[in-house]
């Protein structure tokens, strides 16, 4: 710590540790520097000035929109393809799968020769954050879901569905007609599939499924979070494809959270038995399966491609479908992410350390976002304010 004794403002801006604190904004660094200032109050002014200079020197960012980002990636693939390098193309096909994962979470598309024949782009057009809530039928027609909590019911053969009490017919053909439900941030939906399986779809999520299950395997794709109550049918296993993992079940209740922006795919089993499948990172891309028991949570790290398992109180992870959020010593930053999705708002932290505060208790999502923030304010030493652009800012009390 003595190292900084004779530091000037410019010295701080030269120091790799100081610069990392500024650029990475990790709370570990916050703790270190706040402690340092406390112990060396004489350096406070210089450090604050260095911080101010750093922030003044940062400029406004030019950003690609999500669709621009996706199109550009497609172009990169195309360009590599047309350069005639067969190997590159072959390899890029897998890369394509991965980007697909990130934008849609519907991977394993090529690996398992899925029955989904629709073109990936067709799904990519609508990203949950931008799109409104809607049902998209196999012929491309869209039915918008205006309610905050919509209900969609399919008839047994899938040729009829009831959306919030309106009955809609669609042609049931021999081949599987894929339907999709998109739920934007701030909304939720409950879907009863043609086999009787119930799916609660959380804010900012998508579910792709056949109107009627014709094949011997019942297959759906998920982006985001959903709770499944799968109708029992021992002859026809039910598979959920969520980004890099597949979950296979016969009949059971479980929750999967696989948002594209999250590094972790989280699966929590309430009852029954499910099997999680994924490929590892090794040279031979070996398949792994994890069998889960009730009350177990398995977290899959997409980068390391490893799983960790723990025993949890399931109700805390599935209470969102009843319009509640339940936390027990959860990092505030994690809880805020869920609140952001529910209310379709942005919540900023003035200080990264706030994100590490532990939140416990229940939040009723029937209340407004501001009510919820007020409750958090009562339990944790934070204040909130609304910025001119509509974002919320949490500050230390």
């Amino acid at each position: 710590m003595d190292k900084y004794k004779d530091f000037s403002v410019a010295d701080f801006l030269d120091d790799p540790d100081f610069m990392r604190w500024m650029t990475d904004q990790d709370h570990e660094d916050d703790i270190f520097w706040n402690e340092y200032i406390k112990l060396n109050p004489s350096k406070k002014d210089q450090i604050n000035e260095a911080k101010l200079v750093f922030r003044l020197l940062q400029s406004r960012e030019n950003k690609l929109t999500l669709s621009e980002q996706y199109d550009l990636w497609n172009n990169i693939q195309q360009a590599s393809k047309s350069s005639g390098k067969q190997i590159v193309f072959q390899l890029l096909k897998y890369a394509a799968v991965l980007i697909f994962v990130f934008f849609l979470g519907a991977a394993s598309y090529y690996y398992y020769q899925s029955s989904f024949s629709a073109h990936p782009l067709q799904f990519a057009e609508t990203f949950p954050a931008d799109a409104g809530a809607m049902v998209i039928l196999a012929d491309g027609s869209k039915i918008s879901l205006r309610k905050e909590m919509s209900e969609i019911l399919y008839s047994k053969n899938g040729d009829q569905l009831v959306v919030n009490n309106d009955t809609i017919r669609q042609k049931s053909e021999i081949k599987e007609a894929l339907n999709k439900v998109i739920v934007s941030y701030g909304k939720k939906s409950m879907i009863v599939l043609s086999d009787g399986t119930k799916v609660w779809l959380n804010a900012g999520s998508q579910l792709i499924y056949p109107a009627a299950f014709i094949k011997e395997v019942r297959e759906v794709s998920l982006v985001g979070e959903a709770f499944f109550d799968v109708a029992k049918n021992p002859e026809r296993p039910f598979i959920v494809k969520a980004a890099d993992v597949n979950v296979q079940v016969l009949g059971t209740r479980f929750d999967i959270s696989a948002y594209p922006e999250d590094k972790i795919i989280q699966t929590v089993l309430e009852e029954g038995k499910i099997t999680l499948k994924y490929e590892d990172n090794g040279l031979f891309k070996r398949d792994h399966t994890v069998e889960m028991a009730p009350n177990q949570m398995v977290e899959f790290d997409r980068l390391l491609r490893e799983t960790t398992s723990s025993v949890v109180n399931v109700s805390k992870y599935v209470s969102w479908k009843e319009g509640m959020l339940e936390f027990e010593k959860v990092d505030l930053i994690k809880a805020l992410k869920q609140i952001e999705r529910f209310y379709n708002v942005n919540i900023m932290l003035d200080n990264q350390q706030i994100g590490t505060y532990k939140l416990s208790g229940k939040l009723d999502l029937k209340n407004t976002a501001e009510d919820v923030l007020n409750i958090i304010k009562l339990t944790l030493p934070v204040n909130w304010q609304r910025k001119t652009n509509g974002d919320y800012l949490l500050t230390k009390k």
């Binding site: 003044l56 020197l57 550009l72």
Partner: protein
């Protein structure tokens, strides 16, 4: 330790890619496409040109993978390639026969614009002085500042991108920092002087 997470993730991604794992290219793309786009837009307002150049950078990455090493910083490598590509394209479109040398391109900092939260901490006089001070920087100084404070590069990396030696790159940034500090301080002195004189004028009658 979470402190190291970001950086070790980056290194892990890069080494996976170099070892032939193409699946991670999309992760690299997702992580760096926006920083690259942002950097590119500082050289050219033509966003299509910038996008084309990013495309070329990634295609090159695939082609030249065998020649790259684990010690390369992926962010640095991508930024450097993008700059080279963009200058090439700018040269092409301007029909110049000689290649653009380092003094010839312009670089935009976009400082003092849409930077409300930070600027609001300063009073109006300071804001104006700040904008003027930054406008007066050379394009190279602007680029050095950008690479240091927006992209978080090290001095040795900045010096390579700017074709300078380490000391000059550092001096370039230091001069800019001092300029900025002058703005912050001179105004503050004035401010305290005014404050002081007000206080004095108020207290005098009482005495």
């Amino acid at each position: 330790m979470p402190k190291l997470d970001k950086r070790s993730d980056e290194r892990l991604l890069w080494s996976r890619f170099l070892n032939g794992d193409d699946q991670v290219l999309s992760l690299i793309y997702l992580q760096y496409s926006n920083p690259l786009f942002d950097y590119g837009c500082r050289f050219s307002k033509n966003t299509d040109l910038v996008k084309d150049c990013i495309q070329e950078v990634f295609c090159n990455l695939l082609r030249t993978r065998k020649n790259l090493s684990e010690t390369d910083n992926v962010k640095f490598y991508l930024l450097k390639s993008l700059k080279r590509q963009i200058l090439k394209e700018i040269q092409k479109s301007s029909n110049k026969l000689v290649s653009i040398n380092d003094q010839e391109y312009s670089f935009e900092l976009l400082l003092g614009q849409n930077n409300d939260d930070q600027l609001n901490e300063l009073n109006e006089v300071k804001q104006q002085a700040l904008v003027e001070a930054l406008e007066s920087l050379t394009d190279r100084q602007k680029e050095a500042i950008y690479l240091r404070f927006d992209r978080g590069l090290e001095y040795n990396e900045i010096s390579e991108i700017l074709n300078l030696n380490y000391q000059s790159a550092r001096a370039l940034i230091h001069r800019a920092i001092e300029k900025l500090r002058e703005v912050i301080h001179i105004q503050e002195q004035k401010f305290t002087q005014i404050l002081f004189s007000i206080l004095m004028s108020r207290t005098r009658p009482v005495l």
